[in-house]
């Protein structure tokens, strides 16, 4: 009773430490360590050492240490801090993204980096954290309702602003990740029409690319007219108008997809889709990466060739193997067992985050948790899908595993903030 405030604080710290999701932390440590091993393997030579900070594995190790330090800082920070300062973070991030156009360093065609000597920082990675916080903060406000157009437009703006700035770098792959917030909006009550629309867009997009346009038109028209007659049977008053409108919209969408694909996309973009859709077989040019990645993974067999024993990895057959194609090293050296385990760990981690988020009473924390899960999911889906030849080449990292300091630090912040929110769920 002498110092009730201090006592409470300590008590709550102890309790939150006790409530900390240690399983997630263990999975996090396991993924990062496994990532380090594979980065070590992709660039293995006689002077490889995780303490050599001039080579990728050393840099990654350094960032791992920084991430742990930052992670601890995040964990000892009061949970309210993040909610309160979300807007400030967001503002700073937007400024840093804008600042790139003035001070950024151009690396392989994109101005995505601030350079500090041999270490570069990529603000777009931190933009994910800030946007996740900002979206959570905005959506958790009492007056906000995503069913209302105004709210939807405002939250759309929050998401679109960093997206546009990142597209301008240009780094469309990273920008695409912000699409993950769609899942968050949907969870918070977005009209199901949007989900249908999204799937429709994707479906027609692919359909347009694989089949001739007149056939797509014909099938849309037949389908919708059939739907109209069906609904007419149920309800005599059904109007033809919405169906006609739908036909016009769908057809113009399909037409524009076709137009954009053939006239606005550059050949390299077209190739990425064509190879995945099986319309082109090209193992030397653009298809080289995917083909080599598939060979590396496929040659792993059940058990893999063993740590540091991957011949494809050693021969550097897969370009960007330590960053975007890290999964091919895992597939080759750790085989089916190892790579399936990585997939299972990711699925488990995402579902666990979703589960814990759902159990949170605090709206901000729950929405943030969804944002985190959605971002992880999109990275996981695109990156591994690309390595397996199921998704077109989009250069984004595999969270916690791919080489990249900013990416590791960014994902660590994302995760540790959620761990903090989760551990403090009763301290409201």
């Amino acid at each position: 009773m002498k110092n009730p405030i201090r006592g409470n604080r300590l008590q709550s710290m102890n309790k939150s430490l006790y409530r900390l999701d240690w399983i997630t932390i263990i999975l996090y440590l396991a993924l990062v360590s496994f990532g380090l091993m594979n980065i070590y393997s992709t660039n293995f030579n006689e002077n490889s050492s995780i303490f050599n900070f001039k080579i990728p594995v050393g840099k990654q190790f350094l960032f791992f240490m920084v991430s742990l330090f930052v992670g601890v800082l995040i964990l000892i920070t009061k949970a309210k801090f993040f909610e309160r300062f979300a807007s400030i973070f967001y503002l700073l991030t937007i400024l840093s993204l804008v600042g790139l156009f003035l001070f950024g360093k151009n690396i392989s065609g994109a101005t995505s980096w601030y350079s500090f000597g041999s270490i570069g920082l990529q603000p777009s990675e931190f933009a994910k954290v800030a946007t996740a916080l900002a979206v959570a903060k905005y959506l958790s406000e009492i007056q906000v309702n995503v069913k209302k157009l105004k709210s939807l437009l405002q939250v759309g703006l929050i998401i679109a602003l960093p997206m546009i700035l990142i597209i301008l770098q240009p780094d469309p792959g990273t920008a695409l990740v912000f699409g993950a917030f769609f899942f968050v909006l949907f969870r918070e009550g977005l009209n199901s029409i949007f989900l249908l629309l999204l799937f429709g867009l994707i479906f027609f997009f692919i359909l347009t690319l694989v089949t001739p346009i007149p056939f797509v038109f014909a099938s849309i028209i037949t389908l919708l007219i059939a739907l109209y007659f069906f609904s007419k049977k149920l309800n005599k008053k059904a109007s033809l108008l919405p169906y006609l409108a739908l036909i016009v919209v769908s057809c113009s969408y399909v037409y524009s997809v076709d137009y954009i694909f053939n006239n606005i996309f550059e050949q390299r973009h077209r190739d990425r889709f064509n190879i995945i859709l099986g319309k082109e077989v090209d193992t030397q040019g653009i298809g080289y990466n995917i083909n080599q990645s598939k060979i590396a993974i496929g040659s792993g067999g059940w058990e893999g060739k063993g740590f540091l024993q991957g011949t494809q990895t050693k021969g550097r057959f897969v370009p960007e193997q330590h960053t975007d194609y890290i999964f091919s090293t895992i597939g080759e050296e750790w085989g089916f067992y190892g790579s399936a385990a990585v997939i299972l760990v990711f699925c488990f981690l995402i579902i666990r985050i979703l589960y814990r988020a759902e159990n949170l009473k605090n709206n901000f924390a729950r929405i943030y948790g969804h944002g985190l899960a959605a971002i992880l999911f999109l990275h996981f889906f695109i990156n591994i899908g690309m390595s397996l030849g199921l998704v077109p080449t989009i250069g984004i990292p595999l969270p916690f595993i791919s080489y990249g300091g900013s990416s590791l630090l960014g994902f660590s912040c994302l995760l540790f903030i959620f761990l903090n929110l989760d551990a403090n769920r009763l301290n409201e």
Binding site: R187, K294, I295, G298, S299, F336, C347, L354, Y355, A374
Partner: protein
């Protein structure tokens, strides 16, 4: 529902990914193979090909380094073509052509631009290589024939062809294989066994190191060196004597069956089939269908043996007991062997010859009668001929001898079945086949068969399978080439050998006498025919001589065959005699005879039938 969308999607994607992994890694095995092709380079590690020595340890065949100029097209930067052409002696057009070809083949893989440059070019080029980015020099090993003779025995190596690849999976495209001669017969010993090295490649096909620390590497097995039975000096001397003549010389050491010399004329310098001009030279040799330098006359040429064959008929008659050394026959410049059928002989009218004289006078009448006695000893000529045939077979005639070179002919010794198919059954008798008595008729032999039966006579009744291999890396191989006894008892040989001695002392081959050496020999002169534009034409007789020396404890048996050399004493006997002198005395004193043989040429004789003009033979 909304809560479960992302979780459900995660699960679906997870299952999709794991099934895709299963398909790529477990179901589909082609990726493993692709990966191996991709990343592991298996290269062969060749041991150096074995050396070949003669019987005295003289090095005949070694290896030489050759240098190919290679390029990797993508690394080539513009260079001074003019000075490059000057350095390498390649024309600019050819250089441009090979550069284009290399680029077409692959931009990243090495191609040969100039092959087999000389050591001198290599030396100068090496200092200037830095000027030519993307070029490098690759060393390889070629055969180095240290001698300019013996090509027919040594043979040559060349790249494997599709046939070799089909029948022996040891070889891979581009490797060398012994193609002829000793190189072929002892390919396995000379080549050793290649090892394997596994190297790790990167995506530019560059070697980045050993694969798994050499765990899968196989060490090559060292090749073996070979000592031949050949006497290099004798072989060289034989080829020297045979210039401008066609024919063969085979010399055998009777006590072992070791072949001391195998000369085939015309021949070629073995170095012609090494290096840059190999295929051009080979084509030239192969296209010479008249002189046939690639045809080993010592082993492959079938000739009627002529008079030397009389020695065998004498031995068979003695063994069969149809004559004794004292048996005499009358000769009147020949005799009627059947009604109205006269066989000529060069004996004087009214001669009475016993066996000794029959041999050294080479009396046709004597051997015709002897032969008739052999055939008529049995109640049918069938049995007689077959008995005669089996005696001859025991001398290695009419069949392959089993020596260790891959070319040869069986020769031909007729039997009853042969004659019964020619004439109707019972339609032939001893006189019908009387030409066999004097080594004409149906009998055909190769020079090595002549030399071999000469060795059997020298040994008084046995021979060793003739062979070229003396030892492999110092291990002798005696048991491989076995002693074979003839069907003639040893006591019958002395009188024939005496006769052969007299041939040289006072008979048809007095020119073959060598001071201090007792030479036994037998001349032969064989009628022969060829087809010119489809017409059977008789050509000048072959000159034949068989000999061995010394008479007691013979060191060398020899057969010399000179195509269209008129008669035995004119070319074959002197050449054989010089060879004996060279081998036994290690020097030749009769330089006048040597000069006559070396300078003598039968070139005009060989051209005659193809000149298109009428010609006379035996002029």
């Amino acid at each position: 529902m909304r809560k479960l969308l992302l979780a459900g999607l995660t699960l679906i994607i997870g299952i999709l990914f794991i099934s895709r992994l299963f398909q790529l890694q477990v179901v589909n095995t082609t990726y493993q193979r692709l990966s191996d092709n991709n990343a592991i380079l298996e290269i062969s590690d060749y041991p150096e090909r074995g050396f070949i020595y003669d019987r005295n340890g003289k090095l005949l065949v070694a290896n030489q380094a050759a240098y190919d100029i290679m390029i990797i097209p993508e690394n080539v930067i513009p260079f001074d073509t003019l000075s490059f052409c000057e350095l390498t002696g390649v024309s600019k057009e050819r250089l441009i052509k090979s550069l284009k070809k290399a680029r077409r083949y692959s931009k990243r893989l090495p191609s040969v631009i100039v092959n087999q440059i000389s050591k001198e070019t290599y030396a100068t080029l090496q200092e200037q290589m830095w000027k030519y980015e993307g070029f490098f020099i690759q060393k390889k090993s070629l055969r180095d024939y240290r001698i300019g003779f013996g090509a027919n025995v040594l043979g040559y190596v060349s790249e494997v062809n599709n046939n070799d690849l089909k029948y022996d999976d040891y070889y891979q495209q581009g490797e060398l294989i012994g193609r002829q001669g000793i190189e072929k017969s002892y390919e396995n010993e000379l080549r050793g066994e290649k090892g394997k090295r596994f190297l790790q490649k990167d995506r530019f096909n560059r070697i980045i190191g050993e694969y798994k620390n050499k765990t899968f590497d196989v060490e090559p097995k060292v090749a073996k060196d070979i000592n031949l039975t050949l006497d290099a000096l004798l072989q060289e001397y034989g080829e020297y004597l045979m210039q401008n003549k066609r024919g063969g010389i085979v010399a055998i050491e009777p006590s072992t069956g070791e072949i001391l010399a195998l000369v085939s004329a015309p021949s070629y310098n073995p170095n012609l089939l090494v290096g840059r001009n190999r295929s051009k030279n080979y084509r030239k040799l192969a296209q010479d269908t008249l002189a046939k330098p690639l045809f080993d006359r010592g082993l492959q040429a079938l000739y009627p043996p002529g008079s030397p064959f009389k020695t065998l008929n004498a031995l068979i008659a003695l063994q069969e007991g149809v004559i004794t050394p004292e048996t005499q026959f009358k000769c009147n410049k020949g005799h009627f062997y059947a009604r109205g059928a006269f066989m000529e002989c060069h004996c004087r009218r009214g001669s009475r010859n016993d066996l000794l004289k029959g041999i050294y006078q080479s009396c046709n009448t004597y051997f015709a009668n002897t032969y008739k006695k052999i055939i008529n000893k049995y109640d049918t000529p069938d049995k007689g001929v077959n008995q005669w045939n089996s005696h001859l077979k025991s001398f290695g005639l009419g069949n392959y001898l089993g020596y260790d070179l891959s070319v040869g002919k069986r020769g031909f010794i007729p039997n009853a079945a042969y004659y019964n198919s020619w004439y109707k059954e019972g339609g032939w008798k001893a006189p019908t086949i009387i030409s066999n008595a004097i080594g004409q008729g149906e009998v055909l032999t190769t020079p090595i068969q002549l030399a071999n039966f000469t060795a059997a006579i020298a040994n008084r009744g046995y021979y060793y399978t003739p062979h070229f291999l003396r030892s492999v890396s110092g291990d002798s191989i005696k048991q491989k080439f076995l002693r074979k006894n003839t069907s003639i008892d040893p006591e019958h040989f002395e009188v024939v050998i005496d006769g052969m001695h007299k041939v040289v002392e006072k008979g048809t081959a007095r020119i073959a006498r060598i001071k201090g050496i007792e030479v036994c020999g037998k001349t032969g002169t064989a009628e022969n025919f060829t087809k010119i534009d489809g017409v059977r034409t008789q050509l000048t007789d072959h000159s034949i001589f068989i000999a061995f020396a010394p008479k007691e404890d013979p060191k060398i048996a020899i057969a010399v065959f000179i195509e269209n050399g008129y008669w035995g004493g004119r070319w074959a006997a002197p050449i054989a005699s010089l060879m004996l002198e060279q081998y036994i005395n290690k020097e030749v004193k009769r330089s006048w005879l040597e000069k006559r043989m070396v300078e003598g040429s039968l070139a005009t004789e060989y051209e005659k039938p193809y000149s298109g003009k009428p010609f006379t033979i035996n002029e």
